[in-house]
Symmetry: C2
Subunit: 372 residues, 2 copies
């Protein structure tokens, strides 16, 4: 028998009998996808069929149960997308069902080596100790490469550790990918030469299926300091592939664009921690961007802190990564952020800085506030 | 000024003022992603910034409004994922917001050529007229290649037009991808030689990011009749890339695994028709699998029929594709299906056939029932 991994689902149900029936249905749906009476005995039934391990009332008090179902590593077949398919492929379509937690196994840790750098590697590259990281974004789409590079320079002069493309910047005619990449790497390099800083430029490499890996390599060749990918758009195996590529060495920042439906509904998708924490670590993201509480999105403080904890908890292999909450961050919120996240966080501040009349000065005030 | 495409969103709101504020927020969030007062005047404000075109109370009576926002083709930059990002990138994370309809523009139709074959091409390959198509699936995972090929042969002998891999079949040791592909193509070919039929085998090519395109080409070389991809796992540009690849000619079947959260919540994600209809046609899928009403998933009859209509309506270019409802189909439901979908449908029946003692005979009875 192969080792088994397990998934804990929240299952909406009126009573235990209904919960058990639904859980056994998940165990079938996610593995053999045929009626129970058609499951061949022997290997398929004993090994491949999902196995209901535990069923308990929901400790969080929601109207349902927590069902933990185990699955065989044999079913994964060394394929990360098949792992995701087992976790939540067809069952993602059933309302009243949510992935709460994923419990790993040795084979999964072998398949998912996790991030190359993690939070400790990012700090090393930034030349800082156990303190917060700072990231900002050049934007909006529609500016010329010259204007965007100027912003990149100013963010670097102001002391941000990472300066990323807005996730909407791809290969628009106003600022083609490679032209922008070269100009921003140069601009950040010039600023570093002035300040003695170590700011790194992070291009968005989300793009056509056949171009992403190529853009990652181009970014590395041309001196980028990391790359950004939106896995919900580009596909969930792209980050893992790059993180495991022996010819690639840059950190990877993940962006949550298009992933919202996977977490925002209380009745479907994933828990915040399992999606932005566990899955992104398994993929190999070094930093995971998600909407901060109190900003213009609806995540609660508790949901955000559950993500930060999942970025750091012991998974038996994959390095701890850094939570990068963003979306509506302002200067005034720095104390609240410090109180919530402590030092293991990457402050992602964009619009609030771009609203200020003097960008370099605004960045310096932000750095001072964070490092107070 | 570049041509503009538009998206109609359902916006949950208590009154028109709130709806308008939320709609203007979407227009910012999806394009410039900076506060309104920081948007540079000129090109960015006039061209790139999303534009609220209309706002009306929801005709369906939900507690909110329909907001139609237009976006510039310049923002797309010839990138399908950036198009999706504009449609619903960050706003996917905001609850109480749903993509209802997508209104195309000339540049999008240029970028998204749509399916190579469509329903008419699939029928031509199957050698049928304006009648329903039939598809089944070999499964479960855990069977050997020999056992799976035997099922493929029996489905072909029984008269199914397409025999696909279960979406959980990847490259497991019990049945490696290429071994299974070769064996099933042979088995289906043998059956066709016996019956004079034209059954086609459809391997699942969802897999590692660097392997998908290669598997597609291998499938074509080795005589597959189509390929299947789960775009929510593999990435939304993979189908489009293959559909536009001059060296690839097979039809593409899309599978809904992992996409559920995008549609099942009434409060986030996409309408059924825009996700499984419009987007899959733009991607270039020839057949779109989704859970049928009345089966073991929760889609309603109306939701399913809205998908079927979106597969066929005039989009100004992309061919009509075929809706392939599956999941819990039984013999008894054939009349209900015929009544609902008419002839423009692909019956996807798996488990109900595999439960029968004689698979070939069961398929023949299904064919007879559908063609009655």
């Amino acid at each position: 028998m192969a080792p088994r991994f397990a998934v804990t689902y929240f299952v909406r149900a009126a009573d235990e009998a209904e919960a058990k029936a639904r859980a056994l249905d998940i165990a079938l749906e996610q593995t053999v996808e045929i009626p129970r009476n058609a499951v061949p005995s022997g290997y398929v039934e004993d090994e491949i069929l999902g196995r209901l391990e535990t069923l308990e009332t929901d400790p969080a008090g929601r109207p349902g149960y927590l069902a933990t179902i185990s699955y065989s590593e044999d079913d994964v077949g060394g394929d990360f997308l098949q792992f995701l398919n087992i976790v939540f492929g067809n069952s993602s379509i059933k309302p009243g069902l949510k992935v709460e937690d994923i419990h790993l196994s040795p084979g999964l840790l072998q398949l998912c080596k996790g991030p190359r750098h993690g939070i400790s590697g990012l700090r090393e590259q930034a030349g800082i100790g156990q303190t917060p990281l700072l990231m900002s974004a050049i934007k909006p789409v529609g500016l010329t490469t010259r204007e965007l590079a100027r912003l990149a320079r100013d963010f670097a002069l102001g002391g941000m550790h990472y300066v990323k493309d807005d996730h909407g910047l791809v290969d628009q005619k106003t600022s083609p990918f490679e032209e922008r990449l070269r100009a921003c790497v140069d601009a950040v390099g010039d600023a570093n030469a002035t300040t003695g800083g170590k700011t790194r430029f992070v291009p968005n490499i989300t793009g056509p299926a056949t171009a992403i890996i190529e853009r990652a390599k181009t970014a590395q060749e041309l001196g980028a300091g990391a790359v950004m990918i939106a896995p919900a758009l580009a596909g969930y195996d792209v980050v893992r592939t790059l993180a495991a590529d022996p010819d690639f060495a840059l950190p990877i920042v993940s962006h949550p664009a298009f992933s919202g439906a996977n977490v925002v509904s209380p009745d479907c998708g994933f828990s915040h921690r399992s999606f932005f924490g566990t899955l992104h670590r398994l993929m190999g993201a070094d930093a995971v961007i998600y909407p901060n509480f109190g900003g213009r999105f609806g995540f609660t403080r508790d949901e955000c802190l559950s993500i930060a904890r999942a970025c750091a908890e012991d998974l038996g292999g994959p390095k701890a990564i850094v939570a990068a909450p963003g979306g509506g961050m302002t200067f005034a919120r720095v104390p609240e952020m410090r109180d919530a996240y402590g030092n293991d966080v990457m402050y992602l501040v964009g619009g609030a800085l771009l609203q200020e009349p003097n960008l370099v000065d605004a960045c310096r005030r932000l750095v001072a506030a964070v490092y107070k």
